[in-house]
Amino acid sequence: MSSEQIIFYILSFWFIASSLAMIFARNAAKAVLFLVLGFFSAASLWILLEAEFLAITLILVYVGAVMVLFLFVIKMLNIDKSTLRAKFAGYLPLGLIVALIIIAEMTLVLGGAQFGLEVMPSPAKHGADYSNITVLAMQLYTTYVYPFELAAVLLLIAIIAAITLVHKNEINRKKQSISEQVNVKAKDRVRVVSIASPSKENK
């Protein structure tokens, strides 16, 4: 067993174990922390696959931003824990059966006969002068520059949508109030002002 295999199996074990702990966790905050552990293992696996930029991005963007956002929301909302597990036992056998069938089928299809080292040999490791970021940037800013800009627009839309959804104080918002419009009286809108006529002033 080579050292790469040992590292792979350790990381896979932690990835699977933390995922299982995540879905069975009773406390949502603990589930987030287990998912963070899972993402760290996934990032380490990606480094094993020589995708360094994406591994760092996973940790910075996911663990640093998205998971913290999850924690914020969990701490902000007061979740009733007793209602969350009402149907736990009812759906577990069905879910397990479906998952085991899928895993068995996938193992048959993706096993060593189809994707093993004989069929798809491991590529040669890159030297120290190879930069994953340079290669990705060359692709991203030439071939995929249009999807890259679309992704930027998508993130802008997400920001605007999220802020608009949760914005509480309606400052400067043009809004219609139908009940006020129906109940309006003439004296609310029309003001009678007595003005001295100019002909009297001339006398």
Partner: protein, 101 residues
């Protein structure tokens, strides 16, 4: 050496764990969102494994875009969740049945 099928089987196991999580956590929207994240992580691992073994960087570009879309999805999903909690006082899925679908 680690073969491609090892990575593919690992990501299929993670995918199935995410699926079981959606099955058993049906009433909790936050955990549902986290299970979706888990499934996306499995898919991303698939993309990167194929990209590594085929020597083609396009798979890593795809993972980049998947990460972008997933971040946007989480932001909007949690915003809707906050709004739902503000209106209903609960994030239980069983409470949100006004459409009677």
């Amino acid at each position: 050496m680690v073969s491609l099928s090892d990575y593919l089987i690992l990501s299929s196991i993670i995918f199935c764990i995410g699926l079981v999580g959606i099955f058993i956590n049906r009433t909790n929207i936050i955990t549902l969102l986290m299970c979706v994240e888990l499934i996306l992580a499995a898919v991303n691992t698939n993309f990167i494994a194929f990209s590594h073994f085929l020597g083609n960087e396009a798979g890593q570009i795809f993972v980049f875009f998947i990460l972008t879309v997933a971040a946007a999805e989480v932001a909007i999903g949690l915003a809707i969740l906050t709004l739902l909690f503000r209106v209903r006082g609960s994030i239980n899925v069983d409470v949100t049945n006004s459409l009677k679908g």
